[in-house]
C-alpha cells in the first residue's frame, strides 16, 4: 500500500489499546533482533522515522532514503552563541518565580561531546519539560493536572570549555497523551543541542533510570536497539546529589562526528 492508502488513525483518536501498540512494537523489535543476529541488519543507533506504533509518525516520515551528500562550507560551521544570548541564571529552572516550585529538586549535569570525544564548547543547550505533576505550560496541554505557578519548565545554558552543562530543575512527572487509549509518556526532559557543525544539530529527550513506562512508550521504543535506548537514560549520581538540597543525575550527550578539519591546538584537552 502507498502511504496515502494506509488506514490512518489520527494521533488524537486514541483508538488502539496499549496491548495492540505493544504487540506492534514487539513484532518490529523481534524482526530487528532476528535481522541483526543473521547479519542482514546492522546495529541501529538512531530512532526509526517510520515507526507506525507512534501514530502521528505515519504521515510525517519521508518514504525515500535520505540522500547522502558531503557537507559544504556552511554546514561545517554552527551559529555562535554567547553571554549576550544566555544569562547564567537561565540554567536554574527553580528560581524563575517568586516561590519554590513543587516536586523533587534535582541537578542534571553532563558533557556535550562530538563523535571524536572533543568537548563542544560555548554552545547553546536548551531544555523544556513538564512540571512535577506532568503538566506543561502550553496551551495545547489538556492534561487535568495542576499548573505550578512557580514553575515554567524552560531553561538554557552555554557549555563550558570542557563541554559541560548543568541545570537545576524539578523532576518532571509522566503524562498521558493520545497516541492510544491510556497512553503515558515516561518522565523526560527535552534537550536541544548544537555542535561545531550544523550537521550535528539535534533535539532529543532525556529519561530517568528504571521508568516502568519505557516498555510501553512508542517514542522511546522507536529506537530498536536496547544499547541505543540506554543512551537516553540519565544515571543517578550520588556525587552530584547535594546534602539536604537536591538529588543529582548525570547524562552525557554525544553528537555525530564533526567533518571540520581540526587543528591540533583545538584538540588539546581532548
Amino acid at each position: 500500500m502507498t502511504p496515502s492508502e494506509q488506514p490512518v488513525v489520527s494521533s488524537d483518536a486514541a483508538a488502539n489499546t496499549q496491548a495492540e501498540i505493544s504487540e506492534d512494537m514487539r513484532v518490529i523489535h523481534s524482526a530487528y533482533e532476528t535481522g541483526k543476529a543473521a547479519g542482514s541488519l546492522s546495529e541501529e543507533t538512531q530512532p526509526r522515522i517510520d515507526f507506525p506504533p507512534y501514530r502521528s509518525s505515519i504521515l510525517r516520515h519521508p518514504t525515500k532514503d535520505l540522500r547522502h551528500t558531503d557537507p559544504e562550507t556552511i554546514e561545517l560551521w554552527s551559529p555562535a552563541f554567547g553571554h549576550r544570548d544566555v544569562h547564567k541564571l537561565e540554567s536554574d529552572l527553580t528560581i524563575q518565580h517568586n516561590g519554590d516550585p513543587l516536586g523533587e529538586r534535582m541537578i542534571v549535569r553532563g558533557r556535550v561531546l562530538d563523535g571524536d570525544g572533543r568537548p563542544v564548547r560555548n554552545q547553546l543547550v536548551e531544555v523544556w519539560q513538564a512540571n512535577s505533576a506532568g503538566r506543561y505550560i502550553h496551551k495545547r496541554d489538556q492534561h487535568p493536572a495542576p499548573i505550578d505557578p512557580n514553575f515554567t519548565g524552560v531553561g538554557r545554558c552555554l557549555t563550558g570549555d570542557d563541554g559541560s552543562y548543568e541545570f537545576i530543575t524539578i523532576k518532571p512527572g509522566p503524562y498521558p497523551w493520545k497516541n492510544h487509549h491510556n497512553a503515558w509518556r515516561p518522565a523526560h526532559i527535552h534537550f536541544s543541542l548544537f555542535g561545531t557543525d550544523f550537521t550535528q544539530r539535534m533535539i532529543t529527550q532525556m529519561y530517568f533510570p528504571g521508568d516502568p513506562l519505557f516498555a510501553l512508550d512508542p517514542i522511546y521504543q522507536s529506537i530498536t536497539d536496547q544499547k541505543a535506548r540506554d543512551r537516553l537514560v540519565a544515571q543517578y549520581d550520588h556525587d552530584v546529589t547535594q546534602h539536604e538540597w537536591a538529588t543529582g543525575y548525570t547524562w552525557d550527550i554525544v553528537l555525530s562526528g564533526s567533518n571540520r578539519t581540526w587543528m591540533d591546538t583545538e584538540e588539546d584537552d581532548k
Partner: protein
C-alpha cells in the same frame, strides 16, 4: 570515522511552543531592511495536509558568502547578522523567515540555505537545503543537485516571487517529497 556512538534523537513533540521560539527568532534581518527577502512556504504531510506543529531552523552565509561567527541570535539587536534563525509554523503550516540572499561560500558552488526540520510525529531531525533559483548553469553542475533524478531536484530549489521573496515548500512525505540529506 567517529570514535563514539551518537546519542539518539527524539521527536521535538507538541509542546516546544513555549520553550524554543523567541522574539524575532525568524528575523535574521529586520523586515523592510534594504536587501532583505522573505523565505516562506508551507510544510505538508503525506496527504498534502499542512502540519501545524513543525519547527524550522535556517543557517546561511551573508550576501557576500561570509559565514558569521557572531553571537546575539537570541537577542537580535537589529544590526548583527548571525546567519541563523528559527521559525515555528503557524496553524496553517506556514513559516516565514526574513533574511538576505546567501552568497557563494566556495568558488563554483551554488549558494543555498541550510535547513533543519523538527516536528511532532517526526522521530528525528531532517536536514535539507534551499537553493536560489538563479544561475541555472551553476545549479546544473552542483554536486548534490546534478546527482538527483530530475523530478526530485526541484524540491530543493526555491521559486523567486515578484517581490523578491523565495517560496519554498516542504513535503515530508508522498508526491514531490522533499529531498532530505544524510551527511554520515
Amino acid at each position: 570515522m567517529s570514535k563514539l556512538i551518537a546519542t539518539p534523537g527524539q521527536t521535538v513533540g507538541p509542546f516546544y511552543g513555549y520553550a524554543l521560539p523567541f522574539p524575532k527568532d525568524s528575523e535574521l534581518v529586520p523586515p523592510g531592511q534594504g536587501g532583505s527577502i522573505r523565505v516562506h512556504g508551507t510544510v505538508t504531510d503525506g496527504r498534502g495536509q499542512p502540519i501545524p506543529d513543525c519547527l524550522l531552523e535556517i543557517w546561511q552565509a551573508d550576501e557576500h558568502g561570509v559565514i558569521a561567527q557572531r553571537t546575539g541570535s537570541l537577542t537580535r539587536d537589529g544590526h548583527t547578522f548571525t546567519g541563523w534563525g528559527r521559525a515555528a509554523v503557524d496553524d496553517d503550516g506556514h513559516y516565514t523567515f526574513t533574511t538576505v540572499n546567501p552568497g557563494v561560500t566556495e568558488e563554483g558552488k551554488a549558494p543555498f540555505i541550510a535547513v533543519v526540520v523538527f516536528a511532532r510525529g517526526l522521530l528525528n531531525k531532517l536536514h535539507t537545503r534551499v537553493y536560489l533559483p538563479e544561475n541555472p548553469e551553476r545549479l546544473a553542475v552542483d554536486g548534490l543537485l546534478s546527482d538527483l533524478p530530475a523530478e526530485r531536484r526541484g524540491t530543493l530549489i526555491a521559486e523567486r516571487e515578484e517581490d523578491g521573496s523565495l517560496l519554498w515548500n516542504i513535503r515530508l512525505q508522498g508526491e514531490n517529497e522533499t529531498v532530505f540529506l544524510d551527511f554520515s
